[in-house]
């Protein structure tokens, strides 16, 4: 409950700022930062139940974790790599999760830029403390990226 209240407060505070910024057209004008900063001091924690993971064309590109809370649906961006690699984000619909991230507005919609997603047993790291999305984690086993071939017939 406290987390949701904080989400709403952050959105309320952020909305006028981003609405104002959207009216600017110049790049790098002091009123509109060209690069969006991930400010870890503004991180919040959202707790709710997994409604689903969506990969769609809406910005920001990549996977979005949709979380049902008592105050509505939260769209948490987990990026393009979270579902890939040897440590993919694996969640069940309805599962309770806590997401740490920074709330922001992108193309007019509130988005939680997720840094970590925690279940009761595991924490998935999505971003580092600067907001950089982690690349797909490689398998710990020494595994070549190349396709093994056997022209004699069998292909692995």
């Amino acid at each position: 409950m406290r987390a949701i209240v904080r989400v709403c407060a952050v959105l309320a505070i952020s909305a006028p700022m981003f609405a104002s910024a959207a009216q600017q057209t110049g790049i790098g004008a002091t009123s509109k930062p060209f690069r969006r900063t991930y400010n870890a001091s503004q991180e919040i924690t959202v707790t709710g139940n997994v409604r689903g993971i969506s990969v769609h064309g809406k910005a920001p590109a990549g996977a979005h974790l949709l979380i049902t809370t008592s105050h509505g649906l939260i769209d948490a961006h987990v990026g393009s790599f979270a579902l890939r690699g040897s440590q993919p984000l694996s969640l069940q619909t309805g599962e309770q999760v806590s997401v740490v991230g920074v709330m922001t507005w992108i193309d007019g919609s509130p988005i939680l830029l997720a840094r970590t997603v925690s279940t009761g047993t595991k924490t998935f790291v999505i971003r580092n403390e600067r907001g950089a999305l982690l690349f797909p984690r490689a398998s710990s086993a020494r595994q070549l990226r190349f396709k093994a071939v056997n022209r004699g017939g069998e292909q692995q």
Binding site: T25, G26, I27, G28, A29, T30, K32, P33, F34, R35, R36, T37, Y38, V55, H56, G57, K58, A59, P60, A61, G62, A63, H77, G79, S80, F81, L83, R84, G85, I106, D107, L113, R127, N128, R130, G131, A132, L133, L134, F135, P136, R137, A138, S139, S140, A141, R142, Q143, L144, R145, F146, K147, A148, V149, N150, R151, G152, Q156
Partner: protein
């Protein structure tokens, strides 16, 4: 006299097999010395049909053309023609009252002398015409294509009339065959032969028109090009370098391969690094026996457009592996590469190497950027800097800049290197607390390809270029027009940006840029209040007014063409490394010149993580394509695009458009269609007459280059 004329015209019309309907002689009670006669008309036609009409007259001023009923009788292409000159009449869009139109030619000199013809106008025929097969585009001069048109609803089975433009230089049609009708549908086959020479604009437009209803037609453009390459175009020892992301994280591969000019690989070696494995291996020559006892299929193809496939096979640790690249040559010494096997989508370059490799070639001042991933933290990590190599074994003093996912630091750079082997390969090791080492491959004394192979600090790949006369740069030397392009990752995901600006020589620059930050596109945004700083070094910096974007720029030799280093036209510019904590991009800066965009181009294009049209894909899509761009700004060609794990899609038709931005000369808007169902909005910036950078500006993030082909 008039009676004789009438008889003559009727006789002519009958002999011509025409209906003669409504044909009348001129001189309706006027000047007997002036005669007017309409040569021929069809008895009936469909709405919107057209035909060629003419009038003979002894009036040296010619005739004027009118029709009735007014405003519903159709139109003439020319309101006045000279004796026997052709005119085009187009029937009205709607059937006129009484189904008849009257076409009249009237003497200019004597308005009482005229001739008229009546034509029945019928409702739309219902005939439909469509291409069953489209021609390849581009098509070689004198090349032939068997094409088929489908006709539906033509009860007369009259067939198709084939024409093309520009008339006389657009090629020809032969072997026209009308197939038997079935369920009111029949096919018309023919063979189109491209012209012997490239037509103006490089495009021939083929038109198929229903003979029964010439308002029903279809057309298609075909780009006509000269043959520009064969497999022999690429011959010698080539260095390659590719990089990108796949399911194991960041990958970098650099190597050297010998191409024999006949499609065979005769040797080579490479280094590959990703967070899970770093390997070095020899490339199996074509036909050599691999450890499974089978003949190696290493080899390459190159078609008449400079486009082909490179397959490299190697033994490693008891197994045989392969990697497959699409390649498009820009010259006999350079090609663009993109991986098209099932394992990844790396993109990169292939460059003819200088011979007689020695440590002495690795000498002088260099600028470099190497981009990739921090292994321990799985986040973006990019190196950049400047250094001096002594031509023996030492590097330094230099400056090393690192942006590790927002943590930027800089420090001195010293290193050692081993002499190159027979493939131009050596190793380069930084004198640092944590091990940082690279395999390097010499393209030439001023172009070095790099791949990091320490397997502990990072996986990065990149290039070092000589600085030439740009070793000591001050603000005043950075003046004029530039294009830049950067790509990498922000806190939102993959991003890219491209733009152009004018630097004033005093530390300020202004221009325009387009960016796409994880699907949020910014178009033609003015870039104002930005600054740059160079203080007697090849290493300088740029910043936006608000400071949210900062980058280092490492200037390179003005005689080096960064996208095509063997191109003697040079161009110059620099490498770029973002240094703020908000995004982790790298890219390049190029001196901008403007010129005509036309000819054959190679494209290297990479789609990066995101989504597109409901298709979910979190990794790179890579394309190389050979394209022909006409002066009108349209281009078409063939290429491969590959989504990781979905394998090779060979020779896909690709096309696009370029429209000049009148407000920002040098910037173009348009599309790129890597497949027929994907018109991707794309912004292009012209670097010079032979190179453009391209940036997709929709929910997907992709960027690339177009480089003019200069093939023998």
């Amino acid at each position: 006299m008039k009676t004789q004329t009438l008889f003559l015209l009727l006789a002519f019309a009958a002999a011509a097999g025409l209906s003669g309907c409504g044909i009348s002689s001129g001189g309706q009670g006027g000047n007997a010395a002036i005669n007017v006669a309409i040569a021929s008309t069809p008895a009936a036609m469909y709405v919107n049909d057209h035909f060629t009409i003419s009038a003979t007259t002894n009036d040296t001023a010619g005739v004027t053309w009118t029709c009735a009923p007014a405003r519903s009788c159709g139109a003439f292409a020319a309101s006045q023609t000279m004796n026997a000159a052709a005119n085009t009449y187009t029937a009205p869009a709607l059937v006129p009252s009484g189904n008849l139109v009257t076409l009249t030619a009237t003497s200019v000199t004597d308005s009482t002398s005229s001739a008229s013809a009546q034509v029945t106008i019928n409702a739309a025929s219902g005939i439909q015409v469509a291409w069953n097969t489209f021609p390849s585009s581009p098509l070689m001069v004198t090349g032939t294509e068997s094409l088929e048109v489908q006709v539906q609803g033509d009860s007369t089975n009259a067939g198709i009339t084939f024409e093309c433009t520009p008339v006389g230089v657009c090629g020809s049609f032969s072997q026209v065959t009308v197939g038997p009708p079935q369920n009111s549908i029949y096919a018309v086959d023919m063979v189109y032969t491209a012209p012997a020479n490239v037509p103006p604009g490089m495009v021939a437009t083929l038109v198929a028109t229903s003979t029964a209803d010439n308002a029903r037609s279809v057309s298609t453009p075909v780009t006509i090009v000269n043959s520009i390459s064969t497999v022999s175009t690429l011959s010698g020892t080539f260095a390659f370098m590719n990089r990108g992301i796949d399911a194991s994280g960041y990958n970098g591969i650099a190597g050297s391969v010998i191409l024999d000019g006949q499609g065979n690989v005769t040797g080579g070696e490479f280094d590959s690094a990703d967070p899970s494995a770093v390997i070095s291996a020899s490339i199996l020559p074509t036909g050599s026996v691999d450890i499974n006892g089978n003949a190696s299929v290493s080899g390459y193809t190159l078609d008449q457009f400079g486009h082909g496939i490179l397959t490299l096979e190697f033994n490693y640790n008891g197994s045989v592996y392969e990697m497959i690249y699409s390649l498009t040559a820009t010259s006999s010494s350079h090609a663009m590469l993109s991986e098209v096997d099932e394992m990844g989508d790396l993109t990169g370059t292939l460059d003819l190497q200088s011979a007689n490799f020695s440590a002495a070639q690795f000498a002088g001042n260099y600028s470099f950027v190497s981009a990739g991933e921090n292994i321990a933290h799985s986040v973006p990590m990019n190196f950049g800097g400047i250094f001096t190599a002594d031509g023996a074994s030492s590097i330094g003093p230099g400056t090393l800049d690192i942006n590790a996912a927002g943590t930027y630091r800089t420090g001195p750079l010293t290193a050692t290197f081993t002499p190159p082997d027979s493939y131009g390969r050596g190793t380069l090791t930084f004198a640092s607390a944590t091990p940082v080492s690279f395999a390097y491959y010499i393209v030439g004394p001023e172009v070095i390809r790099l791949v990091e192979i320490d397997a502990t600090t990072a996986v990065t790949a990149g290039s070092a270029y000589g600085q030439g006369s740009n070793a000591s740069v001050n603000n005043a030397q950075i003046a004029g027009n530039y294009v830049f392009v950067m790509h990498g990752y922000s806190v939102n995901g993959a991003n890219g940006m491209a733009g152009q600006f004018v630097a004033d020589g005093s530390g300020d620059f202004a221009g325009v840029l387009d960016s796409d930050d994880a699907g949020t596109a910014t178009l033609a945004a003015p870039l104002t209040g930005a600054t740059y700083s160079f203080t007697g070094s090849a290493r300088g910096s740029v910043a936006t007014q608000d400071g949210s974007f900062t980058a280092n720029v490492y200037m390179t030799d003005p005689n080096i063409n960064l996208l095509d280093p063997s191109n003697p036209k040079g161009g110059g510019g620099g490498l770029m490394l973002e240094t703020d904590a908000n995004a982790f991009d790298n890219g390049l800066l190029a001196v901008q010149t403007k010129g005509k965009i036309s000819g054959n181009y190679a494209m290297g294009w990479r789609y990066r993580p995101g989504t597109v049209n409901g298709f979910s894909n979190n990794f790179d899509v890579a394309v190389t394509a050979a394209l022909a761009i006409g002066p009108g700004g349209t281009f078409s060609g063939e290429g491969e695009w590959d989504v990781v794990l979905s394998g090779l899609a060979p020779d896909q038709p690709m096309n696009g458009t370029l429209t000049a931005d009148a407000n920002n000369p040098g910037r173009y808007t348009g599309t790129f269609s890597p497949s027929p169902d994907a018109d991707l909005p794309t912004t292009y910036y012209q670097m010079n007459d032979s190179q453009l950078v391209m940036l997709e500006t929709d929910p997907a993030v992709a960027d690339g280059f177009l480089v003019r082909q200069n093939l023998p």
